[in-house]
């Protein structure tokens, strides 16, 4: 009996294989799941639901230097998987012609759960956001229209766009869609912390980590909310502005003085891997970050209310508490995410 089933299933496999060959390639919708401990999606992905081919095309584009003016800088240049898609060891990333930006490359993860992108909210759409780095003169310095012209020269891309999208066109819209699908799939939700809160095997915490989590919940979750560890809000955390950069933060986008020096609250997922820290990458370690929150804040007109309690700025912490917090933060490292071959460059 078993043998018959085996033979039958083999036969099915074979038939479906030959069918695929007959119709060349078939695109299938991906079964995208929201992790049970996550909040609801912040982006409407219904009209750009990830498909296998759309995702693969997005991945290829993510690793393709042709998205930059001189064909050398790909998205992956500043967003490396091993560092949770940040630029390890760089406070500011060097882009095209070795020009240097003014902000530290943010992690690319759980993108469809976010309502705002970049430190200043320069985009609020998972599809449109790729326009910013592609056009930024110090990042890729290219135009979307020209990227399309270049990709149209490549028969492989013509084929891939043909399979991935109903209209089959190599177009600026489909470039953004494919990248959007790739980023939609970039979900980090399998850290030890996740297993801990979901009562799954491998989720054990040490006493110190448990203490760190309690401290975190008491002191940090106002801004680093939910299991995304961000509320997607723009806040001034009291970081002394760097006069050489004069980065106005959120004000750059909105033009409102009330937004001066406000930056998006970053997620803390994989924070162990995303050094250096802060929008300008000024801190090299989590210890320095906590030293800052404990005693380094400066007051200003837009300092966040949450960081001012009865005249005391910041979050006073003992060294023991800092160490416990760091131990907890390291439980947010998601080895599965940074080693997931689904996101690897594929030739």
């Amino acid at each position: 009996m078993r043998t018959i089933i085996l033979i039958l299933s083999f036969a099915c496999l074979f038939i479906s294989c030959s069918k695929e060959e007959e119709y060349t390639e078939i695109n299938k919708s991906i079964d995208f799941q929201v992790p049970v401990n996550f909040p609801v999606l912040a982006q409407d992905i219904e009209h750009n639901w990830p498909t296998e081919k759309g995702f693969e095309l997005g991945r290829k584009l993510f690793y393709d230097g042709r998205l930059s003016a001189d064909n050398t800088i790909s998205c992956s240049f500043c967003h490396e998987q091993a560092s949770a898609f940040t630029h390890h060891g760089h406070d500011f990333s060097h882009g095209i012609n070795d020009l240097v930006g003014v902000r530290n490359a943010p992690a690319v993860q759980n993108m469809a759960f976010q309502s705002e992108y970049f430190y200043d909210g320069a985009s609020n759409s998972i599809e449109m956001l790729s326009i910013a780095p592609i056009h930024n003169p110090v990042e890729m310095n290219e135009t979307l229209e020209n990227v399309v012209l270049k990709l149209k020269q490549d028969p492989e891309y013509i084929r891939l766009f043909g399979v991935a999208f109903d209209n089959g066109e190599v177009s600026s819209g489909n470039v953004l869609k494919a990248l959007g699908q790739f980023m939609t799939m970039m979900v980090s939700a399998n850290s030890r912390y996740d297993k801990h809160v979901r009562n799954e095997p491998g989720g054990d915490f040490s006493q110190q980590e448990q203490y760190g989590m309690e401290l975190f919940q008491q002191n940090c979750t106002v801004c680093h909310k939910t299991d995304l560890f961000t509320d997607s809000a723009f806040r001034n955390n009291g970081l002394p502005p760097n006069p050489n950069l004069n980065d106005l933060g959120r004000e750059t986008v909105t033009g409102f003085a009330a937004d001066r020096h406000k930056f998006k609250v970053p997620s803390l997922r994989n924070v162990e891997l995303t050094a250096p820290y802060m929008h300008d990458g000024r801190f090299g370690s989590l210890q320095s970050v906590l030293n800052f929150y404990s005693s380094g804040l400066v007051d200003s007109a837009t300092l966040d209310e949450e960081l001012k309690h009865e005249g005391v700025l910041g979050i006073p912490l003992t060294q023991e508490e800092k160490e416990a917090l760091i131990a907890f933060l390291k439980t947010l490292t998601d080895e599965e995410y940074i080693n997931n071959s689904m996101f690897y460059y594929q030739t």
Partner: protein, 275 residues
Amino acid sequence: MKFQLKNTIAVLAFTTLFVSCSNDDDSSSVVEGTTGDVELYFDNGVAGDALILGNTYTNSNNESLTINRLNYIVSNIVLIKEDGTEFTYPKEESYFVISEEGDLLTVHLEGVPAGDYTKVKFGIGVDEQRYLQGESEQQSFWDLAAQYNLTWTWSTGYRFINFEGTYTSPAVEGEKTFQVHQGSNSAIDNYREVTLTLPTTARVREDEMPNIHLKTDANVILDGVNKIKLADNINEAQTGTAIMGGENLISIAENTLQMFAVDHVHNGSHTGHGE
């Protein structure tokens, strides 16, 4: 007596004209289920004068603007009948660039149900809903908008209006540049819609294409219900004024509600401005 006769003739002639007009109407009664085309012609001007790029216009803020660019996006067009029934042009095709430098001044609509329309409604810019649906849902509108300098890339989005040139003002020394880029950002939705009454009914028939002739007044962008002085917004280097964010965009959004008016409607089979 002679005078009276003349009057009578005039009245008669007028009546004939009127009768023949209504005869026209009768001869082209609406055939249910048929469609026709409609054109919207945007006649760009400045406070009653024609807009000629490179010319200088003085506004009530006592600033003289030499206008070098006026490009904008109109969208989500709706035609409304006397009884209030609306025809919404298919959203996915309802985004248009109007450009003085590009001589792109006409919006051509197809497949409009035959009927007599008395109002037109449209948006200035790109609405948040469509924006958030992504570029492909905007039918590659990005490429067209980019061609006419109507895209933002540092903050991803569309410029609803791109109004540029140079200016002089008693408050500043010499000639300065100005750039007014109206648009939304992730904090504020500056998309606005206007509903305009047509002075004459626009008759859409299978063989009749009305041309709705609109007058655009670029002056109200800065000199409307809200007054925005370019000199008050000059940059630190004192080289020019760039208005691209903040409260000014909210003021401009309100001003643009008065930016458009329908001047007249051409009805008939050979209408239009020869575009």
